[in-house]
């Protein structure tokens, strides 16, 4: 009788414990997410495909874009424009930055705008630094404390493995949430 009670007691303790452990187990997205090198503004962050440095960051309610042949345009936003100035250099072979996003403190991510050509689409060449900007359009509430994430480097050749456990860059932008009336960017020359 005592042995049976002990068995039932052990099961009563172990079963919830097993359930808890299984719930704590990270999901596939977390297990295989890119391995990020972190840094801060002005610091060169090194990953195997490229090095990246954030030169500056600004936010504004309107974006003034200097395009090709001196053409300029103004873009309003329902939220806020954040423009990040970057310098990037490929290390071994031609590569583009890939997936460039801003991650808000609540976990939401915002991709770089594709309305203008930013540095994210430029082919970086080994040993030749390229400076440019990337613009993001996001809700005003998501700006404060946003982090720049760069992952999934885009190689020009025919085959590359998926981004699982690949390199990534993570830079805290130290934005305080205030937005200037206008912020400027220059389109990248691809």
């Amino acid at each position: 009788m005592r042995k049976a009670l002990l068995t039932v007691g052990a099961c009563a303790v172990l079963l919830p414990l097993i359930g808890a452990v299984q719930r704590l187990q990270p999901d596939a997205d977390r297990v295989y997410r890119p391995i990020a090198a972190t840094g801060r503004i002005g610091q060169e962050v090194r990953t195997p495909p490229y090095t990246v440095r954030v030169d500056g960051v600004a936010s504004g309610r309107e974006l003034r874009v200097a395009g090709f042949l001196g053409k300029t345009s103004r873009q309003a936003a329902k939220g806020v424009w954040v423009v990040v100035g970057l310098t990037a250099t490929a290390t071994q072979e031609d590569v583009a930055l890939g997936r460039v996003t801003l991650r808000a403190p609540d976990g939401r991510t915002f991709a770089a705008t594709d309305r203008f050509t930013g540095l994210d689409t430029v082919t970086l060449r080994p040993g030749i630094p390229v400076s440019g900007q990337v613009a993001f359009e996001l809700p005003a509430a998501a700006v404060k404390g946003a982090v720049l994430d760069i992952s999934r480097p885009a190689y020009g050749d025919v085959f590359r493995p998926s981004g699982a456990l690949g390199p990534a860059v993570e830079i805290e932008l130290r934005l305080d949430g205030t937005a200037a009336p206008t912020v400027s960017m220059t389109e990248a020359d691809t």
């Binding site: 290390t91 071994q92 072979e93 031609d94 060449r125 080994p126 040993g127 030749i128 630094p129 390229v130 020009g156 050749d157 025919v158 085959f159 590359r160 493995p161």
Partner: protein, 197 residues
């Protein structure tokens, strides 16, 4: 008898352990062998490397580096040079000539194993095509190169100045992404004319 029993048990366990060695090796092989081709692709493939300055045979054609020159073109990033490679390809037979129609991709690699693909921003020489197959201007299509006849074509690159002296030229064919030919100049690249672009 009592002393022999543990020894026999140890001997049996040893055989089990020895049996595990090929089992583990087979398991590793099953996991690794299918990925070798993928690894080779990511690594950039296995090059055919002829002697510096000598031609090499690849995909049924003979390949040679006719010229490798550098220059300061306008609009280059600071600290970089424009490099133009002139490559000669002679198909050994009709099949090799036909394979060139699909296209060739040239790249340059330096002593630090950095790799640059061709840049469209630098046009190179005005008198040479950038495709490795002859072009029929009446039909605007690439045509097979004649076996035994050399086709000269060019590719231009933008590289840092410190890479110029150790550059080698790699050529890949559109249908053979893994294998390629790596042509080494007999001497360091020389200063050439200002590129057309």
């Amino acid at each position: 008898m009592n002393r022999r029993a543990p020894r026999r048990r140890l001997s049996r366990q040893l055989w089990y352990a020895l049996g595990l060695v090929p089992a583990v090796a087979a398991l590793v092989a099953v996991q690794v062998v299918p990925k070798l081709e993928q690894y080779d692709l990511v690594r950039g493939g296995t090059p055919i490397v002829p002697q510096p300055g000598a031609p090499g045979t690849f995909a049924g054609s003979s390949w040679r580096l006719a010229e490798l020159t550098w220059s300061d073109a306008e609009g280059l990033p600071p600290g970089s040079k424009a490099v133009t490679a002139v490559i000669g390809v002679t198909p050994g037979d009709e099949a090799a000539g036909r394979e060139l129609i699909k296209g060739c991709a040239a790249a340059v690699r330096d002593a630090r194993e950095r790799l640059w693909s061709a840049a469209t921003s630098v046009k190179g020489r005005a008198d040479l095509p950038t495709t490795c197959a002859p072009f029929d201007e009446s039909t605007f299509t690439a045509v097979p190169a004649e076996p035994g006849t050399e086709v000269r074509w060019q590719a231009s690159f933008v590289v840092p100045a410190d890479a110029v002296s150790s550059l080698r030229v790699e050529v890949r064919l559109a249908q053979r992404r893994v294998d390629h030919v790596r042509l080494t100049p007999s001497a360091a690249p020389s200063a050439g004319p200002r590129p057309a672009g």
